[in-house]
């Protein structure tokens, strides 16, 4: 099993004819992802990796019945692409681009909520479900393997580091999901943990967090509901105090956002917090053997 993305999904690639879109379509197909089409305005009728390309999502929907879309278009066009997917009934959207204006992300994420669409990202490496041989994202294929650990991360490469160390320790993963590094993204730790709670095959969850914001603090309060062991690694232990955004930031955070605040919140709700990324695998092993 897996969360959010399974082999039953039918994936289209928006921006399939660009360099990134093309390269990662090949990688996704290589991993086993059911990619059924691509969208690239004015490139309809062509093919990429034997996958049909359409001019619009609307056309792709009637031709290949997709359920999910991964967006590779340049940031200035990302809002348009996301809305095109949502308004045409796509229910899972993975937004890869970085540097999407935050106001655009606000509009995307709030519209997605109204339509009950799941948005992952923006500025994410995506989502991968090893048991299902299915991924929507740009992560390297070989560092994952099927198993009982769910991983949710804010940061890309750091999650690779941790997923790979789990794999090398023979601790496979149900699903690894990157929420994205931008200030406004579709998922929160809580929405993802709720998915992991409902997946019987996920027996332990790894949270990869970092300083700033208060996502980890908010999530901590959810942990007692989760009913599964949680191992957390938080990056930024040695980082100097972050940039403050005027008084407004200070008023909102009011002491949240620091590593201490996050660590205390998570620990007090039963999570095991490790200090270095290479300590995650051992902590997971212990949690699973309990």
């Amino acid at each position: 099993m897996a969360i959010l993305l399974t082999h039953q999904d039918r994936v289209i690639v928006q921006g399939i004819t660009g360099n990134q879109g093309r390269f990662h379509t090949r990688q996704m197909l290589g991993y086993g992802t059911p990619v059924v089409g691509g969208v690239s305005p004015a490139k309809g009728g062509t093919e990429v990796e034997d996958i049909p390309v359409f001019d619009t999502v609307k056309e792709a929907v009637s031709a290949v019945q997709p359920t999910a879309s991964i967006v590779f278009v340049p940031a200035p066009f990302a809002k348009d692409a996301a809305f095109e997917a949502m308004e045409n009934g796509i229910r899972l959207i993975v937004m890869i681009p970085e540097h999407i204006p935050v106001q655009d992300s606000i509009d995307i994420v709030n519209r997605a909520r109204a339509l009950d669409v799941t948005v992952i990202g923006p500025n994410t490496f995506g989502i991968i479900s090893p048991q299902e041989h299915t991924k929507m994202g740009i992560m390297p294929n070989h560092i994952y393997k099927p198993g009982p650990v769910g991983v949710v991360a804010r940061s890309g490469t750091l999650s690779y580091e941790i997923a790979y160390s789990l794999t090398q320790s023979d601790l496979g993963q149900t699903t690894v999901i990157g929420m994205g590094g931008d200030p406004v993204v579709g998922q929160t730790f809580i929405t993802v943990l709720e998915q992991f709670r409902r997946d019987p095959e996920t027996r332990c969850v790894v949270m990869v967090g970092e300083i700033g914001g208060s996502a980890e603090e908010e999530a901590a309060e959810y942990l007692s509901t989760l009913g599964k062991p949680v191992v957390a690694y938080l990056a930024g232990r040695a980082a100097p105090p972050g940039k403050r955004m005027g008084h407004a930031g200070a008023i909102i955070e009011r002491g949240k956002g620091t590593l201490d605040s996050k660590e205390q919140a998570l620990k007090s709700h039963g999570a095991q917090v490790v200090t270095m990324p290479w300590q995650v695998a051992q902590a997971v092993r212990e949690a699973l053997s309990r």
Partner: protein, 370 residues
């Protein structure tokens, strides 16, 4: 990107929010001239730091002579590490009361958040939560006049202040949206002769949206070195240690800094070489690290989109052009790892595959070099 106060006020004025008459001055003569025209003024240092007033960045002048003298004292002074090059001379306001209002983006709810208080001013951060009115905006609806009226009512405003505040919230939200603001803040929002005037203003623009705001002035922030790396297009923050660090991805860069401290070392910087940096920017960034003359350099790469052979090429290129005269520790795994490691080995550079080993070695070499 932050905007200076005078720029932020220019945007407020364009959107019909009242500000006091003022002008930018950069010499004692122009300050003297400003007092002649405006009457008694506040001379406010244009620097991008908080707590400016308490640090001596706001002074007053009643006469042209005083204006020249105060401006002469202030120009060139250093305020919390920033050199004061321009002052904003603003007509002195007989402030009766100070309010607070801001709009920012709330990461948790993913919605715009309007905050206001009847207790504005320099102590706003210490004002109790129940004295601050917070309201989230549904971005698909926006801020309509009733939203402003309800906030004005919550603040206990009446008569002309009630009307002016309601109107101001609508305009402030227009600025937040149209200018792609991360933050627009008026503190204090002064009451002068029974009317609202923006006495100070902050406007921070979302860097990702700058491409659609050619009308805004560009403001460079940070040290020269930081600006140099930002120009390459990479995220960089100076720290005060002696081990220079390059990693790919912000989380990875932070974890690398953590690892250096874990083994007892001191990181010299935070450098995120990006999720998919190619040879050229990587080489440029490494060149910057070399120019810092650290005790050691640690390159920590987990290749995803970033290809290990590209990183190796960049390292070899720097080694064979500017040279790398300090101990270099490289950790290289992921996409095209084998090709990358071979390239380095041919140049006599060893590559680690385990992050902990590499961090420990970098700390060890920095200690040897002391």
């Amino acid at each position: 990107m932050k905007q200076y106060e005078y720029m932020a006020k220019g945007v407020l004025a364009e959107h019909g929010i009242p500000i006091a008459p003022g002008r930018l001055v950069d010499s004692p003569e122009s300050a003297s001239q400003a007092v002649t025209e405006l009457g008694p003024v506040a001379l406010k240092a244009q620097v991008l730091v908080g707590g400016r007033g308490k640090a001596g960045g706001i002074r007053f002048a009643a006469t042209p002579e005083e204006g020249a003298k105060v401006a002469g004292d202030m120009l060139g002074m250093t305020l919390k590490g920033y050199r004061v090059e321009k002052l904003y001379a603003e007509q002195k306001l007989p402030i009766e009361n100070e309010l607070y209002v801001s709009i920012t983006t709330d990461r948790n709810t993913k919605k715009p958040l309007v905050m206001a208080s009847a207790f504005g001013g320099v102590e706003i951060e210490d004002v109790a939560n129940d004295k601050i009115v917070k309201r989230y905006v549904d971005p698909l609806v926006g801020v309509m006049p009733y939203f402003g009226r309800e906030m004005a009512q919550s603040l206990g405003l009446r008569d002309s202040l009630f009307k002016e505040f309601s109107d101001l919230v609508v305009r402030l939200y227009q600025i937040y949206r149209e200018k792609d603001a991360e933050l627009v803040e008026i503190n204090p929002l002064a009451v002068v002769s029974g009317h609202l005037v923006a006495a100070d203003a902050r406007l921070n623009i979302d860097d990702s949206a700058l491409y659609r705001h050619s009308e805004l002035s560009c403001v460079e922030e940070g040290s020269l070195l930081e600006q140099r790396v930002h120009e390459i297009g990479l995220a960089y923050v100076e720290l005060d240690g002696d081990i220079a660090i390059m990693a790919n991805g912000a989380g990875m860069a932070m974890a690398t800094i953590d690892a250096i401290e874990y083994f007892g070392g001191k990181p010299a910087n935070f450098l995120d070489a990006g999720g998919g940096a190619s040879v050229k920017p990587t080489a440029e960034a490494l060149g910057v690290l070399v120019s810092m003359k650290p005790k050691a350099i640690l390159v920590n790469i987990f290749g995803g989109i970033t290809r290990c052979d590209d990183v190796a090429k960049a390292i070899v290129q720097v080694k064979n052009t500017v040279g790398i005269p300090v101990p270099l520790v490289v950790r290289l795994v992921g996409t095209n790892e084998r090709e990358g490691v071979e390239l380095l080995n041919r140049e006599g550079i060893q590559a680690y595959s385990v992050m902990a080993d590499a961090a420990e070695q970098a700390v060890h070499m920095a200690k040897e070099a002391r």
